[in-house]
C-alpha cells in the first residue's frame, strides 16, 4: 500500500495542517515507509477477536448530576489569543 501526494494533501486538510509542497512530499515518503509496515498486521489471525479499545476492562462509570463550580471567566479567558466582551474571539468563518 502506498499513499499518493493527493491523498497526503487530503489528510493534511482533514487534520487542518497547513503544509508547503516540500513538507507534503517529505511526509509522503515517511507515511509510505510506515504504511509499508502496516501490512504486517494483516497477517495476524484475529478471527473471533473483539477489538480492545481499552487497556483495562471497566464499565458503567458515571457521576451524579450535582452541579459544581468550575472556572471563573477570567481564568477561562486568560490564555486566549483574543477575547472581548467575555467571548473568545475567532477569525471569520468563511464557508468554502
Amino acid at each position: 500500500m502506498s499513499i499518493s501526494l493527493d491523498e497526503v494533501r487530503h489528510v493534511a486538510r482533514l487534520a487542518r495542517l497547513d503544509l508547503d509542497e516540500s513538507e507534503l512530499m517529505a511526509f509522503q515518503g515517511e507515511l509510505n515507509q510506515l504504511l509499508g509496515h502496516f501490512g504486517d498486521i494483516q497477517g495476524v489471525d484475529v478471527s473471533g477477536v473483539a477489538p480492545k479499545p481499552h487497556a483495562v476492562a471497566l464499565q458503567n462509570v458515571w457521576a451524579e448530576d450535582e452541579p459544581r463550580f468550575g472556572l471563573t471567566r477570567e481564568q477561562a479567558l486568560r490564555n486566549a489569543a483574543n477575547s472581548r466582551a467575555g467571548l473568545f474571539i475567532v477569525p471569520t468563518i468563511i464557508e468554502e
Binding site: 464499565q59 458515571w62 448530576d65 467575555g86 467571548l87
Partner: protein, 496 residues
C-alpha cells in the same frame, strides 16, 4: 406538470433537563453572562477528561423506552472528529453505529387525518454533547461562548424511507414528540430558546417513482410553524428546480423567517469524514434487564394514547381531548376531577372553557393535588384557588338542576378569586335555581304585562324578541329562574 411525492426525515435535538452538563459538573442554564459556566472539561483544556452524567443517560433510556425502541444493553460513546470554533475539543462525543445508540428502531404515533393514528418509525435515539455558541459581534468578527458546550443533548432521528410525507405530518410529528418529551420531564421543549431543535431532510420524487430524490437539510427553524412552512417551501422549490430542468443539490439550507424562504449555506457536506472511533476516555455502558424494566415502569401514559383514551372512554371530541392532554398537569387536573366523580364531558367543558379563560386572563395556575398547573408555556406568577374539587362541585350543582349554567358561570368567577366551594356560595347567597311552576308562571306573566311593545312585535312575527323577554324574566329572578322552563312558559303565554 408532474405530481411529486414529498419525503421528510426529521432530525431533532433536545437539550436534556439535567442540572449539570454531560461530561462535567458545570451548571446547565439559559442566558447569563458568556463563559461563566465553564471548566477545564467543557472548555477542552489540555489534560481534561470526561465523566458522564448518570441522569442524562437515564433520560435518554426513558425516552427510548417511551418511543418503543430496542435498547442497546451494551453501548459506547464515539468521537465525531471535525473542526469548528464552537467545538472546543475538535471532536464531539456522540454515539455512532447501527445498534449501538442507546435506543434504536422505535416508533412514535401521530394523529392521522382520519382521526386515527399514523406510525412514524424512529431510527435512533442517542446521547451526545452540545457545542458552544458562535455569535457575530456588532462591530464585526465572531466570538464564542462555551456556556452551552457540553450540555447533554439527545438526538432523535426518523427512519428511512421516511414515513412523513406532508408538511402537516412534519408539524404533527414535532408537536407529538415535544409533548412526549415534556411528559417524560426530559426536555422543556422551548424551540424559541433552542432547547429543542429540528432539522428536516426533504426530498421529492415523481409520483410512481421508486427512487428517492436528493435531499436537502433545513436549519434554523425555530417553531412548529417554521417547520411546516419550511417543508412546504422546500417541496415547492425543489419541484421548480426539477421542472426547469435542473437537479436538486444535496446541501444544507438555512431558513429565513422574515422572508419565509430558504437559502443555501454553502457547506461542503461531501468532504466531511468524521473518522468515528470509540472514545478511549469513556468506558462502555452495560445495562441489566432489571434496571431497564425499572425505568420502563416510570414511563407515564403518553399524550396521544391518553387523548385517544379520553375520546373512547369519555366520548370527548378529538379537539377537547387534545387541549386536555396538551399539558400533562392539565390532563392530571381532569383525571383527578373525573376520579372524584365529576362527569367527564362537563368537567372538560368547564376546564377548557371558562376555567382556561380565567387562568389565561389572570396569568395564574390551577392547583391539582398540590401540584401547580399551568397550561401552555408560560411561567405562572400566582396560584389560583380552583381545584378539581371545585369543578366537580360545580358540575354536580348544574347537573342536579340546583343552579343554571348562567349562575354557574358567576360562581366560577367567585370561586376563582375567593376559593370558596360553589355549593357553599349557593347556600350563602341563596342562588339555587328556581324551578317552581308558580313562580315562573307569575314572573312571565308580569314581564309580558310590563312589556307590551316587545310582546306586540313578537306577535307580529318577530320571533327573536323572545330572547329579550326571557332575559327580563332572568333579570327579575337574579338569573336563578330555570331558563328552559322560562322559555317554554314564555312561548306558551305568548302563544295564548
Amino acid at each position: 406538470m408532474a405530481r411529486y411525492l414529498t419525503s421528510v426525515g426529521m432530525e431533532v435535538h433536545a437539550e436534556l433537563l439535567t442540572r449539570s452538563k454531560m461530561f462535567c459538573r458545570c451548571e446547565v442554564g439559559f442566558g447569563g453572562e458568556p463563559n461563566t459556566r465553564v471548566c477545564p472539561v467543557c472548555l477542552g483544556l489540555p489534560g481534561a477528561l470526561p465523566v458522564p452524567n448518570r441522569v442524562a443517560i437515564e433520560m435518554v433510556l426513558r425516552t427510548a423506552l417511551a418511543l418503543n425502541c430496542q435498547i442497546a444493553y451494551d453501548s459506547v460513546f464515539h468521537r465525531k472528529n471535525y473542526f469548528y470554533p464552537d467545538l472546543p475539543k475538535g471532536f464531539q462525543v456522540s454515539q455512532y453505529g447501527e445498534t449501538n445508540p442507546l435506543g434504536y428502531y422505535g416508533t412514535l404515533d401521530i394523529p392521522a387525518a382520519d382521526g386515527g393514528t399514523k406510525t412514524v418509525r424512529i431510527r435512533r435515539v442517542h446521547l451526545e454533547e452540545d457545542t458552544g455558541k458562535l455569535m457575530h459581534l456588532p462591530g464585526g468578527g465572531s466570538g464564542v461562548d462555551y456556556n452551552r458546550a457540553g450540555v447533554p443533548l439527545m438526538e432523535i432521528v426518523t427512519d428511512f424511507p421516511p414515513d412523513i410525507t406532508t408538511p402537516d405530518e412534519a408539524r404533527d410529528y414535532l408537536q407529538q414528540l415535544r409533548l412526549v418529551l415534556l411528559y417524560l420531564g426530559v426536555c422543556d421543549g422551548k424551540m424559541e430558546q433552542g432547547s429543542m431543535r429540528c432539522e428536516p431532510n426533504i426530498s421529492i420524487r415523481p409520483e410512481g417513482s421508486e427512487t428517492y430524490g436528493t435531499k436537502t437539510e433545513l436549519k434554523n427553524l425555530n417553531s412548529f410553524r417554521s417547520v411546516q412552512m419550511g417543508v412546504e417551501y422546500e417541496t415547492e422549490r425543489q419541484s421548480q428546480v426539477i421542472e426547469s430542468g435542473g437537479r436538486v443539490v444535496q446541501e444544507t439550507r438555512g431558513w429565513n423567517e422574515s422572508t419565509q424562504s430558504s437559502f443555501a449555506m454553502r457547506t461542503k457536506e461531501s468532504e466531511q469524514d468524521y473518522r468515528y472511533f470509540p472514545c478511549p476516555d469513556l468506558v462502555p455502558m452495560h445495562f441489566e434487564e432489571a434496571s431497564i424494566e425499572r425505568l420502563r415502569a416510570t414511563i407515564p401514559e403518553l399524550p396521544l394514547a391518553k387523548q385517544r383514551r379520553y375520546q373512547g372512554e369519555f366520548g370527548l371530541s378529538e379537539y377537547d381531548a387534545g387541549v386536555l392532554v396538551g399539558d400533562q398537569s392539565w390532563a392530571g387536573f381532569f383525571e383527578e376531577a373525573v376520579g372524584q366523580g365529576g362527569d367527564p364531558k362537563a368537567v372538560c367543558n368547564w376546564m377548557n372553557g371558562d376555567l382556561l379563560r380565567l387562568l389565561n386572563e389572570t396569568g395564574q395556575v390551577a392547583l391539582a393535588g398540590g401540584q401547580a398547573v399551568a397550561h401552555g408555556h408560560g411561567t405562572p406568577a400566582t396560584v389560583s384557588k380552583v381545584t378539581p374539587a371545585h369543578i366537580v362541585d360545580l358540575v354536580r350543582l348544574v347537573g342536579s338542576g340546583q343552579i343554571n349554567s348562567k349562575t354557574a358561570k358567576t360562581l366560577l368567577d367567585d370561586a376563582f378569586s375567593s376559593g370558596d366551594m360553589p355549593s357553599r356560595l349557593v347556600e350563602a347567597k341563596g342562588l339555587t335555581q328556581i324551578s317552581d311552576d308558580g313562580f315562573i308562571k307569575e314572573t312571565v306573566a308580569q314581564v309580558i304585562a310590563e312589556n307590551p311593545g316587545p310582546v306586540e312585535q313578537y306577535k307580529s312575527g318577530k320571533q327573536g324578541v323572545i330572547g329579550f323577554l326571557v332575559g327580563q324574566v332572568m333579570k327579575s329572578s337574579q338569573g336563578r329562574a330555570n331558563p328552559t322552563m322560562v322559555q317554554d312558559e314564555m312561548r306558551r303565554q305568548l302563544g295564548e
